[in-house]
Each structure stands twice: as structure tokens, then as C-alpha cells.
């Protein structure tokens, strides 16, 4: 048997000028937010320091039958703790939902491109379901800025699992569930203010494809700039396998490194 470990550490990697490797970190807590929806926090100083809005992390199952990466948008960061919020949909998310503080989990990241939040703008964060978590991070980052206004527009199936997390960061937080309508319903309600506000409006959005397309067309009709964060099944999450593609006007691009953020122009969603 091999007597030495050649699994590198983040410290070794960054000292040598490389990106941190897959590593094992400590789970600091798992909390159920709603039926089937959980918030898991883990301790990783590198991700906590570097994760930008819409960037994601790969989590890995402990079960070697289930090797593939499970990508999750970084939802928020406190000190060296990183939170992800996820729905239980299959093997990995079920396993993660049963973890407890003190357990260990393997992570890689942060991965992917961020929303472009460089501009002085009124950012409208439009999220649906499990597309909401990356927008929490966007709100968190933007809330620290003087030159940005943040309105959140969240659509839930039923339970409002993320409202408590966004409250501290949004100038205005709107939410709706299916009994009442969807994110377009909310956008219609604030349309007048968006038109008349002082700052240029930019929509950052994440959620089911159908919702993104609806938001895209709503925004296009009103000349509002959009950025969408997409999801696709991933083989690696860091750009080496070309498995996670989305069709763009420049051909098939990788969601993991060319995205996950794309503009409607890139996606050819302009009508």
C-alpha cells in the first residue's frame, strides 16, 4: 500500500500559484428550510473569500458508486463558512441533506464565471425555486456597495425558504408563490418603478429554463439588460470534459467555465 498521500492541500496549491484542488472540508451545519429543501454550510476559507455571485462549488458524494460532481451555487458566505441551499432530487442531495455538523465533505471551487456586477445599477434579482441560492450571494455582495440598488423578485412553488436570507441584503425584497402567480407577476407590479428609477436596471436571473425565457422576453420588450445563470449536467465542472454545453450564437459553450452566466444575446434569446 502507498505510504504517502499525494492529495494536495489548498495551501500547497495556492503557494505554488495553482488553483485549490478537490479537498475535504468540515460541514458546520445542515438545516431544513422547507419540505425537501436544505441549507448546508461548510468551512472553506478559499471559497468564502473568492466566491462571486453565480459561481458554484462541486460537492461529491461519499459513495464511490456516485462519483459525479454535484454543482451548487454559493448562496452566502459568513467568515470562512460557505452556504449552499438545495432541493433533494436524487442520490447526492439526499445524502447531503442527512449530514450533520462535524461531518466531512469533498468540495471543489469556486467554479464558473460570475454575474457581471461591475456597473452602477439597480439590480433586479429574479429567481425561481432552486435558482434562488446564487442570487442570495449576489444580493450579499451588492449590499456592500453604495452604487447599487437591489430588488429581489423570488418565485417559489410554495414555501418561501429563502426570504429570511435575503432580507438583510435587499433594498426591496418581493416574493410570490404559485398560489398567487410567478416572477413575471411581480415584475409587472414593479415595472413602473423600474422605468422611472434613477439607475439603469439590470436583471440577474436564475431558475427553470421556462422562467428564464419568460424573463428574457419580458425584459427584451422593455429594453432591460439581463444576465442568466444556467444549469446543465456536468462531468467535471472545471472545463476539461466538454460535457456541460449550452447552445449559443457562438456554438456550443461550456456552462461550467464559459458560464454559468450567459446573456440573452449569447443565447440567441433576443426576439
Amino acid at each position: 500500500m502507498t505510504t504517502a498521500s499525494f492529495i494536495p492541500t489548498t495551501a500547497q496549491a495556492t503557494a505554488a500559484g495553482y488553483y485549490p484542488p478537490r479537498r475535504t472540508v468540515e460541514v458546520t451545519g445542515v438545516r431544513q428550510l422547507a419540505q425537501g429543501v436544505f441549507r448546508l454550510t461548510f468551512r472553506d476559507a478559499f471559497i468564502a473569500e473568492h466566491a462571486k455571485p453565480a459561481q458554484f462549488v462541486n460537492l461529491y458524494s461519499h459513495n464511490p458508486l456516485h462519483m459525479s460532481p454535484r454543482p451548487f451555487g454559493v448562496a452566502d458566505v459568513h467568515g470562512d463558512e460557505v452556504a449552499v441551499i438545495f432541493a433533494v432530487v436524487g442520490y447526492g442531495t439526499d445524502e447531503f441533506s442527512r449530514m450533520q455538523a462535524g461531518d466531512r465533505i469533498d468540495v471543489l471551487g469556486p467554479l464558473g464565471k460570475s454575474y457581471d456586477v461591475g456597473a452602477d445599477a439597480h439590480y433586479v434579482l429574479v429567481g425561481g425555486g432552486l435558482g434562488i441560492p446564487p442570487l442570495l450571494r449576489a444580493a450579499q455582495v451588492l449590499s456592500a456597495r453604495e452604487d447599487a440598488t437591489v430588488t429581489t423578485v423570488f418565485g417559489y412553488r410554495n414555501e418561501h425558504f429563502a426570504d429570511e436570507f435575503v432580507a438583510p441584503f435587499a433594498d426591496r425584497a418581493l416574493a410570490i408563490d404559485e398560489s398567487e402567480g410567478n416572477v413575471i407577476t411581480l415584475l409587472e407590479r414593479i415595472e413602473h418603478e423600474l422605468r422611472t428609477g434613477q439607475r439603469p436596471v439590470t436583471i440577474l436571473s436564475c431558475g427553470p429554463l421556462q422562467m428564464l425565457k419568460a424573463v428574457s422576453s419580458w425584459a427584451a420588450n422593455r429594453d432591460i439588460a439581463c444576465q442568466f445563470s444556467l444549469e446543465e449536467r456536468m462531468g467535471c465542472g472545471y472545463g476539461t470534459c466538454v460535457v456541460c454545453v449550452v447552445d449559443t450564437v457562438d456554438g456550443r459553450q461550456k456552462v461550467c467555465v464559459d458560464g454559468p452566466v450567459f446573456t440573452p444575446e449569447q443565447l440567441g434569446w433576443t426576439e
Partner: protein, 315 residues
């Protein structure tokens, strides 16, 4: 149990056990498997020139867009992928990936894809004067000259193709075999007799997954290629069988390698070197880890290490 001391894989390292593969010296016997390595991605994680070699993603005459998403599904101890050989084409490769890799000091195995014999010939022609150290002909692509079946499943079609490519280049030419055949040794023999300098195996096994929520296949292409630990015993048996049939041909063993121990099994089966594929997708530094683990195992096996260094094999 205490965790083991973590060795620094980023530190400069003088590899103790090189191998000769069809006349090309690899610093150590561990490379990356084609389709799981792109410099722009992997180069962020470690110095890729530390590896024995890197086999790059299959390149074609013109850019290929591959299959629509989803392209991947998980399977027990493996994955099923159907990328469809998306790549930016050989011209881009020649001005981008390849020169960058050579500038870093990597030993490069350029993997070649084609949908018909002319495709392969054109790519090999463009690569003939390139700084690529070896060419690896992926004969598992669906081939129109051959009724949609891959050339790698038919010894006659394969001979025809390899003879043609042999005339175009003097570079060490590796033929990468598919395991999805009745008689891999027969295919191997056809490749060698028509001019291959080396064989690599295995490419992926045909497999699929179905989503039980919908009853439909998970990947758009329906079937894809299985890789990962699950295929390890199959790849090993292919190397063994081909080594028994062809005692002298250099062989690169591939399939399910995720540790120095598994790499060593391939060397004992008769391989000159190995490549790590799927393991690198979920652990970016896996190939370098495997190279270091194997080095320790070879330290304890001087006879095997000597043979490899000379271009010989265990069997």
C-alpha cells in the same frame, strides 16, 4: 488514524522511473487520457509537464459541435458520456493548445478524430510537421466511410485506414482501440500489421442510463461511453489479451485507473505506460497523484522499472 503526511505535488520533482513508448521517452509512465484533458482547464491545477505525457482531446479537420446536452449520466463507479467529439478543429489546435503545451515542456500525444478516412488523413497531414510527440488515432468515432460503425470494429477497414495514415507521417502513431468488439487481439494485429507503432486501450464501453421519472434515456444521444473504475477489469483484460497476441508492440493501458496500484496492474499485464481519464474529471490532480503513487511502487520493483526504462515490458 492520523491523516497521512501530504506530499507536495507542486514541488519540482525529478522522476525516478521513466518509460519508453514507441521510442518516445515519458518522464514517468502516467499520462492523461484523451477527452479528459484540456490545458486551459487542467493547467490551472498543476504543472502538466510533470506528467509522463498528455493525450489531448480528439481533433478533427474542421470544428465539430458534438451532441446536444445532456451529455453525461452517472453509472455505478463510472459515468456514461456522449460528447460527440466536440472540438475546435485541428487548425485552432495547432496555434493554441499544442504550442502552449510544448512551451510548458509537456510530452504531447495528439488524439485524432474523423468521420471518414479522408478526415483522418487531412488531420494527420496537418499534424505531420507539428511538434506533437505522438499521434493517437481514435478509431472509435462513428465513421461514414464505414456505414456509421467505427473503423475500430473492423480489421479490414482499420488496416486500410492505418496504411493510408502511415504513408503520411513518420511520427510515432498510436492506434486507440475500442473494447466493443468480439476479438480485440485480431483488431490489434490488423493495426500493427498496417503500420501502427503503438496501441492504446481501452476507449469507453457502450452504455446508457434511463431516468425512471420519465422513462427516457438521460443523455441526448441515448447511448454513450462508460468510463471510470467500473471498466477497470475490462481494460486490463484487453491489454493482457493483446500483449499475449503481440509480444513486441508498445501498449498504453487505459480504463478505470485511479491509483498507483491500478496503474501497476496494467504494467504487470504488459503495458509500457498508462493514461488516467475519468478519475481526473472528479479529482483534477488525479493523474499527478497516480504518477507519484506509481513511482513509490516502482521503487520497490526495480526489475519492472528497468524494463520500462528500456522500452521493454513485464510480459
Amino acid at each position: 488514524m492520523n491523516e497521512q503526511a501530504s506530499m507536495d505535488i507542486y514541488a519540482p520533482h525529478a522522476w525516478r522511473h521513466g518509460t519508453m513508448v514507441a521510442g518516445v521517452r515519458w518522464k514517468n509512465p502516467v499520462g492523461t487520457a484523451s477527452g479528459t484533458f484540456q490545458l486551459a482547464a487542467v493547467g490551472n491545477f498543476y504543472d502538466v509537464a510533470q506528467l509522463g505525457a498528455v493525450s489531448t482531446k480528439g481533433v478533427s479537420t474542421v470544428p465539430w459541435e458534438g451532441n446536444p446536452a445532456p451529455r453525461t449520466a452517472e453509472s455505478p463507479a463510472g459515468t456514461v458520456n456522449a460528447v460527440g467529439l466536440q472540438n475546435p478543429g485541428v487548425d485552432t489546435y495547432l496555434v493554441d493548445e499544442l504550442p502552449k503545451l510544448k512551451a510548458l515542456g509537456a510530452t504531447v500525444v495528439t488524439n485524432v478524430a474523423g468521420h471518414c478516412d479522408d478526415d483522418y488523413a487531412q488531420v494527420v497531414e496537418k499534424l505531420a510537421d507539428s511538434p506533437a510527440d505522438m499521434l493517437e488515432i481514435n478509431v472509435s468515432c462513428p465513421n461514414v466511410s464505414h456505414g456509421g460503425m467505427s473503423v475500430g470494429t473492423d480489421p479490414v477497414a482499420l488496416s486500410h485506414l492505418i496504411e493510408r495514415l502511415r504513408k503520411i507521417t513518420d511520427k510515432p502513431m498510436v492506434v486507440k482501440l475500442t473494447p466493443n468488439v468480439t476479438d480485440i487481439a485480431g483488431i490489434a494485429r490488423a493495426a500493427v500489421e498496417s503500420g501502427a507503432d503503438c496501441l492504446s486501450m481501452i476507449n469507453t464501453l457502450v452504455g446508457m442510463r434511463i431516468d425512471i421519472r420519465t422513462g427516457e434515456p438521460i443523455i441526448s444521444n441515448v447511448t454513450g461511453g462508460v468510463s471510470g473504475p467500473a471498466v477497470f477489469p475490462v481494460g486490463l483484460a484487453c491489454v493482457w489479451k493483446v500483449r499475449q497476441a503481440l509480444p513486441d508492440i508498445p501498449i498504453i493501458g487505459i480504463g478505470g485507473i485511479d491509483s498507483g496500484e491500478k496503474a501497476l496492474e496494467y504494467l504487470y499485464a504488459g503495458a509500457n505506460a498508462v493514461e488516467v481519464g475519468g478519475a481526473a474529471l472528479v479529482e483534477p490532480t488525479a493523474p499527478l497523484r497516480v504518477a507519484h503513487e506509481l513511482e513509490l511502487l516502482l521503487d520497490a520493483r526495480p526489475e519492472l522499472a528497468d524494463k520500462l526504462a528500456k522500452g521493454d515490458t513485464w510480459r
